[in-house]
Amino acid sequence: MSNLPNETLIPHIGVVTDVRIDTPDVKTFRVVAPEGGVCFKHIPGQCAMLSIPGVGEAMFSITSSPTNTDFMEFSIKKCGCLTSWLHMMEPGQQITIRGPYGNGFPVESDFKGKDLLFIAGGIGLAPLRSVINYVRHYRSNYGKVDIVYGSRSKDDLVDYNEILNEWCNEEGVNVYLTIDREQEGWDGHVGFVPNYVKELGFDTNKTAIICGPPIMIKFTLAGLQELGFDKTQVFTTMELKMKCGVGKCGRCNIGSKYVCKDGPVFRCDQLDELPNEY
């Protein structure tokens, strides 16, 4: 059927080449095209539809940076039917993949030359990791980088090794980790992310990028505003149920905006203009 036009709903094959156990409920899957390399190009913050035929298909953020052309990575939390199946995969398993979908972060416009403040909670680090590693790759295009990352416990920090061994050792990058409750073997900060951000008290010339559970985003945004940040300086990325990924199946809209194509990245003042239904 080679004479038929390209159809976005028909996926490509992806091969899982590596499975990394990040936390008790998060695994990071490395995916390559059957001929090697990435299945398609993307920009940080964009997403892909992954599927195991017969089980289902769902949207996941691409956690690897586009500067990595050898493979794509997806950090996936086990929380439903498809993700439970994905967690059972072993290297060599094929999946289907289509994309990239969504707008991505404005790494080549709004973010350029700016001091960047990344704030993530739990699995919310996954979409931000793509931006962080992109910024690290093109280091001279951006100002200072601050990363505040928190999770329930030390064991729930995703990408902990990369954070400790790479991010923490890089000049011009400050990493602030926190966990919700005291834990044996943890001598770092304890407390919720929104409070920690306020304690740290960042300069208001920074551009902030937040991702995490909705409640964490809400309180962090309020905290940033208390510090003097304007909503136009704060970006976040959303997630709603999706089937098509291209604004046609009709379920991921917030008002007239479709998260799959108009988002998932929104500036917080733009989000304010949408009805409160997310």
């Binding site: 709903l9 028909i10 094959i13 046609k248 008002g255 009805p275 239904e277 997310y278």
Partner: protein
Amino acid sequence: MYQIEKARLGELFARIAASGELILPVENNGTSQYGTWTPEVEVRLDRLNTVRSAKDCFFPQTENLMGFQMKGKEISIIDQRKPCEPFTVFGVRACDAASFGILDRVFLSEPVDTYYQSRRLAGTIVTLACGEPEETCFCSVFGIDAVKPGGDVSCWLTEDTLFWKSLTEKGDALTEKVKDLLTDGDEAALKAYQEKISAIHEKLPLKNLSLEGFNGDATEALFDRPEWAELSEACIGCGTCTFVCPTCQCYDIRDFDTGHGIQRFRCWDSCMYSDFTKMAGGNPRLTQKERFRQRFMHKLVYYPANNDGIYSCVGCGRCVAKCPISMNIVKVIKTLGVKNHE
């Protein structure tokens, strides 16, 4: 413009069907539904509207998208798309004909939905003017003229004559195939018929329904209106309104294990259903109020916001006639609109 005696319609249908499937309203247990013409079917052009709209012809209720073969850890994807054979839909009312333009803006915008596109390219639409509109009709509110119903060919059916007027290249091609059955049309007779039915349309009770207050910028003004609670209170979430609606286009994609491979299919879905937006992490539309609001906000505000102010309703009246609790878009417009308060 051409015409043919009503008594010879069977010959016309046979001729059209000779060069591809002919789909038209047929008798179905006391109602009419679009079905394939055969010499045996009972064609029903007398009833105003089919139970379900003509969108089925281009966006069927279920369709297979692709197949998969799973072998160990390997997957092969089977593209099952086939070129769509030419077909004709006859007897489409003006409201349904207008709905195709609304669906086109969804499915034919980039990236194009090739399943829908192939049917649109292959289908020729023959419309039929409405001589006996019902009280639930309000297409004129959306600028649709049921006296001049559009499509590739427009038809008018009087007591004894069918008038036939081609409007597009596809219409010309179809006309060419049936031309020897047609005679030159009596323009004066057609005009007289059009004037007669225009007068009926002028008297429809919902003709003056005002859409003032509904537009792409009205989200803020309408979203938090307290009336949504009362309007949606009795909604049982059956989804009938979405299934009979010619412009509802939300769909689901699911997989089915056939026993000899996986079939991925698409089927109509409804924003009125509780699991439509349900995720492992929660549901942004928790109660029927939010789902009900979504449906009407989409038709009257969100769709216009993204589509040059065009509403995603054609006033066919199917939802008005079919809702089991008698709640419908007319009541929503009357309740929340700027005018219409009785």
